[in-house]
């Protein structure tokens, strides 16, 4: 009997049972609330006002430069933003960057996790050096890429084309941004996946290989299912962050050639234009997009999500 086999009957038969509230149940509830309370209090106390304030601002026409013209305009800001070409271009760029970089990072991250976990020699060195890209201040890394890719000043520009300037063309600039993102955050994925890998019971793997499973079969049928929760967390958070890409684009191209992301134009409208109404609207729209994607992910992963009721109780 393996752990997965033990779990199956429970999942198949588990329907929400209306159990009477026993003393044990009540204790459990109290303990649950008690344990969650500090985290919940901190999170809500710090963010409740700012988030609600942003929502409220998005319903107004409010430009800091013209404080007398402030007024309540309901959803007009949303119409303005959603019918604007700049917003959709940025949206498309953001989606492109997100999808490509997350997909590549998942594959590379898994590979990196396997190497970090299983390597026989130089484990400490590999693990530490693999995590360094994630640990470097993003802006500095972005600057170093900018220098590297500028012809004349760096070592990479001339590798690709003799007298091209990859940062000045849209396609190559986007590719460079994506590459910079991948280099920087693959360790994040890899770390989460490696910790997930560490919890795959060796017995399972041994049993599977004794049953004649190939490496690939062991990987897809034993390791991946057990790692599902870790994969969800890695994918979810990496996607959320990728959708809000800012630093790399800001330093490498400053949004030239239509390489802006939605975060960049939200920042421009909010900080440069001092247009709190439009800026907040964009923030809310970014938030809704991210929320929809998170919802889809959680649904896709179903029982692997935290807080789903039938995780492992037998």
């Amino acid at each position: 009997m393996t752990a997965t086999e033990v779990r199956k009957p429970a999942r198949a038969g588990a329907k929400p049972r209306k159990a009477p509230l026993s003393e044990g149940k009540r204790q459990e509830r109290k303990l649950g609330w008690l344990l969650c309370a500090p985290a919940a209090i901190v999170m809500v106390a710090v963010t409740a006002y700012p988030i609600l304030y942003s929502f409220w601002l998005s319903l107004q026409r409010y430009d800091l430069k013209f404080p007398d013209e402030r007024k309540f305009i309901w959803f007009t800001n949303y119409v303005t933003v959603l019918s604007n070409g700049y917003w959709w271009t940025a949206f498309g760029v953001t989606m492109l960057i997100t999808v490509v970089s997350v997909a590549v990072e998942l594959v590379l991250g898994m590979g990196l996790a396997l190497v970090m976990h299983r390597t026989i020699i130089g484990r400490g060195l590999v693990r530490t050096s693999a995590l360094i890209p994630y640990g470097i201040v993003t802006v500095v890394a972005a600057f170093s890429w900018r220098y590297a890719w500028t012809p004349g000043t760096g070592y990479l520009a001339n590798l690709v084309s003799p007298d091209g300037a990859p940062l000045t063309e849209r396609a190559s600039a986007l590719a460079i941004v994506i590459a910079a993102e991948i280099w920087k955050t693959t360790p994040f994925m890899a770390l989460l996946l490696m910790a997930g890998l560490a919890l795959v019971p060796d017995d399972l793997l041994k049993a599977a290989s004794m049953d004649g499973a190939s490496w690939w079969q062991r990987f897809t049928k034993v390791m991946l299912p057990v790692m599902k929760p870790a994969i969800l967390v890695a994918l979810l958070f990496r996607t959320l962050d990728a959708l809000r890409v800012f630093d790399n684009i800001y330093v490498l191209t400053n949004g030239a050639n239509e390489t802006s992301s939605v975060s960049m134009i939200a920042y421009n409208n909010l900080m440069k234009g001092l247009n709190l109404g439009i800026g907040s609207t964009m923030s809310v729209l970014i938030f809704l997009t991210v929320a929809i994607i998170a919802f889809v992910f959680v649904k896709l992963f179903g029982t692997a999500a935290p807080g789903s009721s039938d995780d492992g109780r037998r």
């Binding site: 752990a3 509830r29 303990l31 609330w33 969650c36 500090p38 985290a39 901190v42 999170m43 963010t47 006002y49 700012p50 988030i51 304030y53 190497v115 970090m116 976990h117 026989i120 020699i121 130089g122 400490g124 060195l125 590999v126 530490t128 050096s129 693999a130 360094i132 890209p133 640990g135 470097i136 201040v137 802006v139 600057f143 170093s144 590297a148 000043t153 760096g154 070592y155 989460l192 490696m194 910790a195 019971p201 060796d202 017995d203 929760p229 967390v233 958070f237 959320l240 809000r244 630093d247 923030s283 938030f287 929320a291 998170a294 692997a304 999500a305 935290p306 807080g307 789903s308 009721s309």
Partner: protein
């Protein structure tokens, strides 16, 4: 022997891809201002000027101290609070569980650029502006969702049988937790600690909005205060040197914790 070679090659590939751009930054930090942009990977003229420059005033050292203190405290508290909440979420049944999980994800998802101004106002009014707690609280807040999710994922992967077996052997809930579950939770906890620490260490947006003097200014912000010799000159050498210096604590932190992520686990724990 063959598999050692195979792993060795893979190791080298990983290290090269990870470190070559880092070495580029290191090389920038050793270049003189005259040769900064000569495009050579290895500096033709080596200099320690940049490193001397950043330690000349105590501005950078002060920022380092702030960063280390704030990041460590935030990590500690976030991991503790996150562990408690994640344990409850993945093990216990209580109403409001999915609400908490949903709300914490919501908090992680809202673009932070819109939140800094209201937070700035709050902190100015409560006197937290430009203080360590003024940064620690937002860091904990925005690290908690990741902490809770990561730790829940790991608590999920720990089989229930172990806890039950320990209880049947006469252990209390607390002992069962400490002696059986906690070691299994170690990978998750240390992973979370590393991720939270790096988040706090490298954050720029909150740090620049909620600090104003050396009192609480952290390193990423201090970088934006470095000046070149004149108005438009970027102090690239100094910034690269500072970047190298501030990556060292990360390296130490990771080096210390990376082994604990994989330290002896379930091999043999689940039989049958």
């Amino acid at each position: 022997m063959n598999s050692k070679l195979k792993w060795g090659v893979l190791d080298v590939i990983v290290v090269v891809f990870a470190l070559v751009p880092v070495l580029w930054i290191v090389s920038l930090s050793f270049k003189t201002t005259a040769t900064l942009t000569d495009g050579n990977f290895i500096p033709r003229e080596w200099t320690f000027d940049n490193y001397q420059l950043i330690f000349q005033t105590d501005q950078f050292v002060r920022a380092l101290i702030n960063s280390i203190g704030i990041a460590l405290i935030s990590t500690l508290i976030a991991v503790v609070l996150g562990t408690m909440a994640a344990y409850a979420i993945s093990r216990l049944d209580f109403p409001g569980k999915s609400l908490l999980v949903g709300v914490s994800l919501l908090i992680a998802m809202f673009p932070q650029v819109s939140l800094v101004s209201p937070l700035f106002n709050i902190e100015r009014n409560t006197g937290l502006f430009d203080t360590w707690p003024g940064l620690i609280l937002p860091y904990i807040t925005f690290a908690l969702p990741l902490a809770i999710y990561t730790l829940s994922a790991f608590f999920k992967q720990i089989p229930w049988d172990l806890e039950k077996a320990a209880k049947m052997d006469g252990a209390t809930q607390g002992e069962a937790f400490r002696k059986v579950i906690a070691p299994l939770a170690a990978p998750g906890v240390f992973t979370t600690a590393i991720l939270v620490f790096i988040f706090c260490w490298n954050d720029f947006l909150f740090a620049i909005s909620l600090t104003s003097t050396e009192q609480s200014r952290t390193v990423p912000v201090a970088l934006s205060f470095f000046t070149g010799a004149s108005q438009f000159e970027d102090p690239t050498g100094a910034i690269s040197a500072a970047a190298v210096v501030i990556t060292i604590p990360i390296i130490l932190f990771v080096l210390f914790f990376q082994r604990r992520i994989v330290a002896g686990l379930t091999s043999g724990a689940v039989k049958g």
